[in-house]
C-alpha cells in the first residue's frame, strides 16, 4: 500500500534545474535590506531546465506531461499555495524561464517566505522495461527551495512597537512561542514588543550609527536572552526541546544558513554555548531553579564578556 509506505522512484539530480536569479523588486534573495511593511513587490525569476536530463534520469518518455511549478510558503502566516506552473515543452532539449512572475504581498515576505521550484509529472509513461520510473500523478521529480526571507533573521527580526495599556507600564515584553514551527529559526519564536514611549524605543529609532541605537540594541538583545532563558528554565518541555535544538545546531554543517555568523540564531546559540561553558542546558536549568539570582547575574556577566 503505497500511501502508507515510502515511495521508491527515480528522481532527478538538481543540476537539471538551474535557478540563476530570483529578484524581489531589484533585490536578489535572500533579502538583506528592509522592504516596506505593506504593499506588494514584483518578483521575477530566471531559471534553466534541462529537459533531456530530466527525461533521461527519471526514465520517463515524452507522452508524459512534465510541469515546472512554483509554490509559495509562509509558515508563520499559514499560507501554502501553488502560485505559478508551466507545462514543459518536451520537444525542446532545454527551456529557459525568465520573466516577472507577478507580485507578492510584502506581509508574506516580511514574515518569512520560501519559494519552492518543483518539477513534477502527470500521466507518467515510463521508458520500456523501466520499473523504477515514477508511476503516479503529481510525482515530484525535482525540488529546489529558494528562501526569500527568514522570519527572525536580521532585518526581519520580529520586533513590534506598541502602546501598553498597563498599570505596570513595561518597557518591553517578550513572548517565546516555541510551538510556531519546529523547522523555523529559533529566533522566529520570539515576539518582542517595545513600549513606544520608552527610552529603549527612542534609542532604537535613532540613527544606526549613533551610540543611543547601539546601546538600545545591546540592551534589547540582553533583555531577550535573559528573558528567554528564564522562560526556558521554568518550562521542562521547552527545556527538552531547546536542548535538542542546541544539540542539532552543534551538528549542523558549516555551510548551513544558521551557521552564518551574521544571523541572530548563530549569535544566540554561540552565546548560550559560551554561557553554559560545556554544561548541558538542563544542568544550568537545575542550577537556575535552586539559585535563580546567581544564574541571572552570571547571564549578565557572560553577556558583557561575549565574543560575538
Amino acid at each position: 500500500m503505497r500511501a502508507l509506505s515510502a515511495s521508491s522512484y527515480l528522481e532527478v539530480a538538481s543540476e537539471a534545474l538551474q535557478i540563476s536569479r530570483v529578484l524581489i523588486g531589484d533585490q536578489q534573495v535572500p533579502l538583506k535590506t528592509e522592504i516596506p511593511l505593506g504593499g506588494l513587490s514584483d518578483v521575477s525569476i530566471s531559471c534553466h531546465l534541462d529537459v533531456n536530463k530530466i527525461l533521461e534520469e527519471s526514465r520517463l518518455t515524452k507522452p508524459s506531461r512534465i510541469y515546472l511549478s512554483i509554490d509559495g510558503t509562509c509558515e508563520y502566516l499559514g499560507v501554502r499555495e501553488t502560485i505559478k506552473s508551466w507545462k514543459v515543452d518536451l520537444e525542446q532539449p532545454t527551456t529557459i524561464f525568465e520573466e516577472t512572475l507577478g507580485q507578492i504581498h510584502n506581509d508574506l515576505i516580511n514574515n518569512g517566505l520560501v519559494l519552492t521550484f518543483l518539477v513534477c509529472v502527470v500521466d507518467p509513461v515510463a521508458q520500456r522495461n523501466e520499473q523504477l520510473a515514477c508511476n503516479f500523478d503529481g510525482g515530484i521529480l525535482l525540488r529546489e527551495e529558494v528562501i526569500v526571507s527568514e522570519r527572525g533573521e536580521g532585518v526581519l527580526f520580529p520586533l513590534q512597537y506598541c502602546n501598553f495599556n498597563s498599570d505596570e507600564d513595561p518597557t518591553w515584553q517578550i513572548e517565546l512561542d516555541i510551538e510556531s514551527d519546529l523547522n523555523a529559526p529559533a529566533s522566529s519564536a520570539l515576539q518582542v514588543k517595545i513600549s513606544d514611549e520608552s527610552m529603549l524605543y527612542k534609542g532604537l529609532a535613532a540613527d544606526r550609527n549613533a551610540n543611543e541605537w547601539q546601546s538600545a540594541a545591546a540592551t534589547l538583545l540582553h533583555a531577550i536572552q535573559t528573558e528567554c532563558l528564564i522562560k526556558v528554565f521554568e518550562n521542562d518541555d521547552v527545556l527538552a526541546q531547546l536542548q535538542e535544538a542546541t544539540d542539532n545546531f552543534q551538528r549542523l554543517d558549516s555551510t548551513h544558513w544558521a551557521r552564518n555568523a551574521n544571523s541572530i540564531g548563530f549569535a544566540l546559540n554561540n552565546w548560550m554555548h559560551y554561557f553554559c561553558a560545556g554544561r548541558s542546558i538542563i544542568e544550568v536549568a537545575a542550577e537556575f531553579k535552586s539559585n535563580p539570582l546567581g544564574v541571572i547575574v552570571d547571564l549578565r556577566k557572560s553577556f558583557l564578556r561575549r565574543k560575538w
Binding site: M1, R2, A3, L4, Y9, G38, L40, D42, V43, Y67, S69, D71, G72, T73, E75, L77, G78, V79, R80, E81, T82, I83, K84, S85, W86, F97, E99, T100, L101, G102, Q103, I104, H105, D107, L108, N111, L118, C120, V122, F136, D137, G138, G139, I140, Q160, Y161, C162, N163, F164, N165, S166, D167, P170, Q173, I174, E175, D177, Q191, K193, D196
Partner: protein, 272 residues
C-alpha cells in the same frame, strides 16, 4: 511565457482591516490561574465600551478597532448564537452545531488582516477580554484529580493556538465556509464531527493548503457521507495524504486531484 503584474497569491491580506490588541501567553497564564470555574459575568479586567481592559495589553501601531466596536462584535456574535438556539452560558445541546454557528458568526462579523489572524496574542485577547465566557460555555471542563472534585479547564482554549475556542471555529468557517463544505451536497450528508475536523485541521501541511484541504473534505463527504464508521477512516485518510506530500505535488493535479484523493481514500480504507 508571458509576464503579468498581478498578485501571485489568492489570499486576502486584509491590509485595511482595523487592528485588534494582543496579549502574550504569560498574561493568559496569569489571568487563567485566577479563574475559578465558569464565567457568567464580566470579569473586572475585561474590555468594556470605553476601555480595552486592564493589564499589559499590546496595542499595535495603526488604526485600532475601538473598544465600542469590540463590544458590538461581542453583542452581534452572541445574538447570532442565540438566534441559532443557544442561550448564553446554558448547557449546549450540540457542540458541533455551536462551533459551526460561532464560526459562521465570527467569519461574518470579525474582519482581520492575515498577520493578525495568525497572531496568537490577538485570539487570546479576544477570548479573555471580549468573549470571556465562551471557553467555559463551550467546554465544561473535567473533574480534577483533587478529592474536592475541582473542575479543570485546559488553558489551550484561552491561548491563541489552534485549540483556542474562537480561532478553531473561525479557521474552519474561513477555510470551508459556514457549512463546513457541505454546501451544494445532498441533505443526507452529515457534517464532519470534532475528531474528523481536528484530524484535518491540526495537520498544518494539509490545513495551510486551502485547495488541498477543501478537496480532502470533499473526498470525505463523497466517500463517507454519514458519520457512521467515518472517524477512523478519516484518520487513516488524513495520515495517508500527509505521507504523500513529500513525493506528490497535489497543486499541479487540477482535474485529477479528486480522483487521486479518492484512490488514496480507497487504498487506506479498502472496505468502503
Amino acid at each position: 511565457m508571458t509576464g503579468q503584474i498581478e498578485p501571485l497569491f489568492t489570499i486576502d491580506i486584509g491590509e485595511k482591516s482595523l487592528l485588534i490588541p494582543a496579549i502574550t501567553k504569560e498574561v493568559v497564564s496569569r489571568i487563567f490561574a485566577k479563574n475559578e470555574g465558569p464565567l457568567t459575568s464580566r470579569p473586572d479586567y475585561a474590555a468594556n465600551p470605553t476601555s480595552y481592559g486592564k493589564g499589559p495589553i499590546a496595542k499595535p501601531p495603526g488604526a485600532l478597532v475601538s473598544p465600542e466596536k469590540l463590544m458590538k462584535l461581542r453583542t452581534d456574535v452572541i445574538a447570532d448564537l442565540e438566534s441559532a438556539g443557544f442561550e448564553l452560558n446554558a448547557q449546549i445541546s450540540s457542540v458541533t452545531d455551536w462551533d459551526r454557528a460561532l464560526g459562521e458568526s465570527l467569519k461574518k462579523n470579525l474582519k482581520m488582516s492575515l498577520v493578525q489572524e495568525n497572531d496568537q496574542g490577538v485570539w487570546a485577547y479576544l477570548t479573555l477580554y471580549v468573549f470571556w465566557e465562551f471557553p467555559t460555555w463551550r467546554y465544561h471542563g473535567r473533574k480534577g484529580k483533587g478529592s474536592d472534585g475541582e473542575i479543570i479547564y485546559s488553558a489551550k482554549r484561552w491561548e491563541g493556538g489552534n485549540k483556542n475556542v474562537l480561532r478553531k471555529c473561525w479557521m474552519r468557517a474561513s477555510a470551508l465556509g459556514p457549512d463546513l463544505g457541505t454546501d451544494g451536497l445532498s441533505g443526507t450528508v452529515e457534517v464532519l464531527n470534532e475528531d474528523e475536523l481536528v484530524n484535518v485541521f491540526e495537520r498544518t501541511t494539509l490545513a495551510r493548503n486551502r485547495d488541498l484541504l477543501r478537496a480532502i473534505v470533499q473526498t470525505i463527504y463523497i466517500k463517507r457521507p454519514t458519520s457512521d464508521n467515518r472517524m477512523f477512516a478519516v484518520r487513516r485518510f488524513a495520515t495517508a495524504v500527509l505521507h504523500r506530500t513529500p513525493t506528490t505535488h497535489f497543486g499541479i493535479l487540477h482535474e485529477k486531484l479528486l480522483p487521486t484523493l479518492s484512490d488514496i481514500f480507497d487504498e487506506v480504507n479498502p472496505t468502503s
